[in-house]
Symmetry: C2
Subunit: 286 residues, 2 copies
């Protein structure tokens, strides 16, 4: 790529606000890069939708991102990665990084006894994508997967320090009681926000945070392929949403630890393989 190409932004896509944990981790690892973020709030949560629906949504989102001239696509949504990434990456001529493979890589590196737990939405767990990715890295690991669909609603409700969260985690984690896992993959981009609470319930188990591991994978790709920006600091974040709600802003500001001043709402339509989009400036929120 020439200088001009490497100055293009990184595209980060999620169904909602959770992917901002990945965007923030990338920005921390590569502070000079610009990030275009697309949150498909109109269709969230992906975890409870069919595979066909998730593939359609992802295709529409990716086509919008390509229109913004991205140099790398990060699918910062576990459900979209598990259901759609293997199809999408064949259709694009830019690199694609999902949140599953880096997490699987990291889990296989840190486990000592080869027994790995995974938690995620029902869609992610049902797809079996983590199990496949982990077994591909190391066929001898044992994988124990549990869907934990109440965690995102609890995080979005802001009950992070509430005893109900602890009770829900304890109930879900009884599933791992006799599995002897020594490593737990957080298979949802919301979960880094309750990493401490999860650690309290799991004790000494290694926690693999897919936001951090994905950011490390982006950094490594950039170093190996000279994809990093040639000029100085990027413009930060540009945020596009398919629907706007105050919840995005309040949770998003917690994740980014900064004010979100402007978002742009966009309308995506997927029809006969061609995506049309229309932009509407939502305007200043402050």
């Amino acid at each position: 790529m020439n200088n001009c190409d490497t100055d293009r932004p990184i595209g980060v896509f999620d169904s909602g606000v959770g992917g901002l944990t990945v965007a923030a981790a990338i920005k921390k690892a590569l502070p000079g890069e610009s990030i275009v973020y697309l949150g498909d709030l109109l269709h969230l949560p992906y975890g409870s939708k069919s595979g066909k629906a998730v593939l359609d949504f992802t295709r529409a989102a990716v086509n919008f991102m390509l229109g913004r001239g991205i140099k790398l696509l990060v699918i910062a949504c576990n459900t979209a990665t598990s259901v759609a990434m293997h199809i999408i990456e064949k259709e694009l001529d830019i690199p694609v990084i999902g949140v599953i493979e880096p997490g699987a890589q990291s889990a296989c590196s840190v486990t000592e006894n080869g027994r790995i737990g995974v938690i995620g939405t029902t869609g992610t767990i049902k797809s079996g994508a983590y199990e496949r990715a982990l077994k591909k890295k190391n066929a001898s690991v044992s994988v124990f997967q549990k869907d934990t669909p109440l965690l995102v609603p609890l995080i979005e409700e802001g009950w992070i320090g509430h005893p109900v969260l602890k009770m829900v985690l304890e109930e879900y984690f009884t599933f791992f009681n006799s599995t002897s896992i020594d490593t737990m993959v957080l298979g949802c981009t919301h979960y880094p926000l309750i990493r401490r609470q999860i650690q309290e319930v799991t004790g000494s188990v290694h926690i693999v945070d897919s936001a951090e591991t994905t950011a490390a994978a982006v950094k490594s790709l950039f170093e190996n392929h000279r994809l990093g920006r040639s000029s100085e600091a990027g413009v930060g974040y540009e945020i596009f949403l398919t629907d706007y709600t105050d919840n995005f802003r309040s949770v998003g500001e917690k994740i980014l630890q900064r004010k979100i001043d402007t978002v742009t709402t966009v309308t995506l339509r997927y029809s006969n393989g061609r995506v049309m989009y229309r932009e509407n400036l939502y305007g200043e929120l402050v």
Copy 2:
């Protein structure tokens, strides 16, 4: 209406599976009627989407229902009723019944001290629709509203008998501690499924179940306007969904207390005021 007209089905619309509580209550009150049910699973939950998005989704759903020849539209979704009903009913030449007005009517009839509580999704509560409907019935009532967004995920997770549900209800209901309400409106079509658990926490408060009250409003409208079927039993339920997931079937069978054998998935598109839809037979599920 002539005989042929009254033999047409009743259309019941919700974002998901919850509206089946309303459909079941209508079927109980009027066993001879046929019901066409549309669940917009592709976009659920409506409670966390913007008003504009909910109006667009509702218009697309209603146009599909009109194509099925319905004689009455029941909006069995509190969010869609609160956000879109006052607009939709002006656009149609068949009667429209939402879930809010019947619930408000019933609450105003049963309250003795004029102090009424309402629980619902964030979208429903933020819209203020229950407060307006209650005040319209009786300007002197005091209304206390609390959004309770964790209840639907808990019901869908099947944790109806779990101590976490009780703890969440107790936490939410501290909001009503010093309000002296004697009546509580269940402002979400999922909540009838946890009516007993709610009653345990609220004690002697009257519970108003909007599924039952909406069915009573349909029955009364049919009696007053001779809209009931002239022939014998209807064909039961025809179920259309914009996306199919197993969760619809498992929760739906609990609500209807019968097997759901067949659903049809449909694609709705709302574009320049015109809705196009395509039907795909999902096929036998059993």
